[in-house]
């Protein structure tokens, strides 16, 4: 029984898992720059995996998942600031709980919206939360929190690796389970899915809660590693848009897509950085434009495209006016 289209190309999945395992050994290089870079890739991959559940599998394109990441960083920072807790596992669990709670509370009304309106609602939530948090004194208000990292700094790398691996495993299990098919059914045609017995609200909210848990966990680990958290950092636009670009680049609605996208985007960003320090953001914009124009369905999606190179040529310009 083939895995079918829902988990994405099998070979690419095996290679990506291979790369993920390889990434686990980066701290042994004792080069804190590679460690920081690797932790960045794992963080963005986790955020992209989280977004992929609601945006990729369920087809509800959220432009505000950073709200769960941001609240995750603040949960971890508050644990240190008020209770002097540095335990990463505790921070991750609390951050996931906060994320899931918010997703459940907001999910029912917000997930009734569709398309652009859902996108705007989630973006609105992220921006409003950023400003509200910046006015709450208990959360450090405008001046933010300084968080004392653990002595064993590589612990943050391994924690992020575990969070990323767990998210990818969860995505794989979901994709093969009944839940995965319910989500894809909603994405393909919500009314037809309801006729077949899939309760749209229940499964959409579940998807968003899973999404929130992954983003929250990534936020909790990031807070410790980054040592300083304020509202603009926690709710940065990058953590909203990069995960989506990465999922697109790697292949929306696949298991391996997000990590592949994270690797490629970071590689592009790094090479641009070191060689064109002044105009790398400009190149980055150009890269996004080109990718979206010629690879609308993403690389991994391409690998199981029906029709090989002919399929590739067909997909270019498939959406022409």
């Amino acid at each position: 029984m083939s895995l079918g289209g829902i988990t994405g190309n099998v070979t690419a999945l095996r290679v990506t898992v291979g790369i993920l395992v390889a990434l686990a050994f980066v701290p042994l290089l004792h080069n804190s720059y590679y460690e920081n870079l690797g932790r960045g890739i794992l963080m963005y991959a986790t955020l992209s995996l989280g977004w992929n559940i609601i945006g990729g599998y369920t087809g509800y394109v959220s432009f505000g998942n950073v709200v769960f990441f941001g609240l995750g960083t603040y949960t971890s920072a508050a644990l240190w600031q008020h209770w002097h807790q540095q335990n990463i596992a505790l921070a991750v669990v609390c951050a996931m709980a906060v994320g899931i709670a918010l997703a459940l509370v907001l999910g029912v009304p917000i997930l009734r919206l569709r398309g652009h309106y859902f996108g705007i609602a989630t973006l609105g939530i992220a921006l409003a939360t950023q400003e509200i948090v910046a006015n709450v004194d208990w959360l450090g208000a405008g001046s933010g929190f300084t968080v004392r990292p653990l002595e064993a700094y590589s612990a943050y790398y391994y924690a992020m690796w575990i969070v990323c691996a767990a998210s990818m495993l969860a995505t794989f299990l979901i994709a093969r389970s009944k839940l995965g098919y319910a989500l894809v059914a909603i994405r393909e045609n919500e009314e037809a899915a309801a006729v077949l017995g899939v309760d749209p609200t229940r499964y959409k909210v579940t998807a968003w809660a899973i999404s929130a848990a992954m983003a929250g966990a990534a936020g909790a680990v990031f807070a410790g590693a980054n040592a300083f958290i304020d509202a603009p950092t926690a709710f940065a636009l990058d953590n909203n848009v990069f995960p989506i670009v990465m999922a697109i680049l790697g292949g929306v609605g696949t298991v391996a897509g997000p990590l592949v996208g994270a690797l490629i985007l970071t590689a592009i960003n790094e090479t641009l950085w070191s060689h064109f320090p002044q105009i790398h953001t400009l190149f980055f914009g150009a890269v996004i434009v080109l990718v979206v124009m010629f690879l609308p369905r993403g690389l991994l999606w391409l690998l199981n495209l029906r029709g090989g190179w002919k399929g590739l040529r067909a997909s270019v310009g498939a959406y022409r006016a």
């Binding site: 289209g5 098919y181 319910a182």
Partner: protein, 252 residues
């Protein structure tokens, strides 16, 4: 008043438009009810009322003794009622087997079926409807007749007691119609009650145990197919008064 499925004085008003007006009839367990009537006679509206999509303005639908109020769409199949759509709605980016599997997973007894069991159930159903050969293909690559078969298979995956078929045979040529009729007989043979909405009188006549005729939202005839199809009121409703008059003059 059969205990299985009964339509009691159902009326459905959309503002001023009376789509259905005081329609009542019963459907016995295992029966095949042909529902016919010219376009705009309220057939699809009635299907929506029976499948709980619309809540009737007056009257009610009773199934297994229970009144179907405005049941949310996803809960309808759990009552045992499944339906196909005139406009076919496959999940394009899933394979044919996966399309049917979704029904098996979330239908009436989907809860006690794992993903694997659902795939096996789907394969069985594909064999029944004759789509086993394309099980692994993407749903969007199917021909029109195959898409209609897929629609039936997905409905059957919900383990229904009653299956509503909305113009499943429209657009099929002669041999495909016979194959479809054959399929419906096997499905009915397995104990599934059918309500068939079609315009092909030949198909309706050959498959239905009883026939109900709607015109402008009212029930104008009910009974055995041969008798109903020959009655002048039905012909007049379908083909207009002038044709009916000429029929009367010609008859000896």
């Amino acid at each position: 008043m059969s205990e299985f499925l009964s339509i009691e004085n159902v009326a459905m008003y959309f503002g001023g438009l009376h789509a259905l007006d005081d329609v009542s009839f019963d459907v016995g367990r295992g029966a095949v009810l042909g529902l016919i009537g010219p376009n705009g006679s309220g057939k699809t509206t009635l299907m929506n009322v029976i499948s709980g999509v619309y809540k009737p303005t007056y009257g009610s639908v009773r199934f297994n003794g229970k009144r179907i109020a405005d049941v949310p769409t996803y809960a309808v199949c759990h009552l045992g009622i499944a339906r196909t759509f005139q406009v076919v709605k496959p999940f394009a980016n899933l394979t044919v087997r996966e399309n049917v599997a979704v029904g098996a997973m979330y239908g009436r007894n989907g809860h006690n079926r794992g993903a694997h069991a659902s795939f096996e159930r789907a394969q069985e159903l594909l064999e029944i409807v004759g789509l086993a050969r394309v099980a692994g293909r993407w749903a969007s690559d199917l021909t029109i007749p195959d898409r209609k078969r897929l629609e039936v298979a997905k409905a059957l995956a919900l383990d229904p007691e009653v299956l509503l078929l909305d113009e499943v045979m429209a657009g099929l040529h002669a041999t495909e119609v016979d194959e479809a009729l054959e399929l419906l007989r096997t499905v009915n043979g397995r104990g599934v009650t059918l309500i068939v909405v079609e315009h092909l009188m030949k198909a309706i006549a050959s498959i239905s145990t009883t026939v109900v005729v709607l015109a402008e939202g009212k029930k104008i005839a009910e009974g055995a197919p041969a008798e109903v199809l020959a009655s002048p009121t039905v012909i007049e409703a379908y083909l207009g008064t002038r044709y009916a008059e000429r029929q009367r003059d010609v008859q000896p």
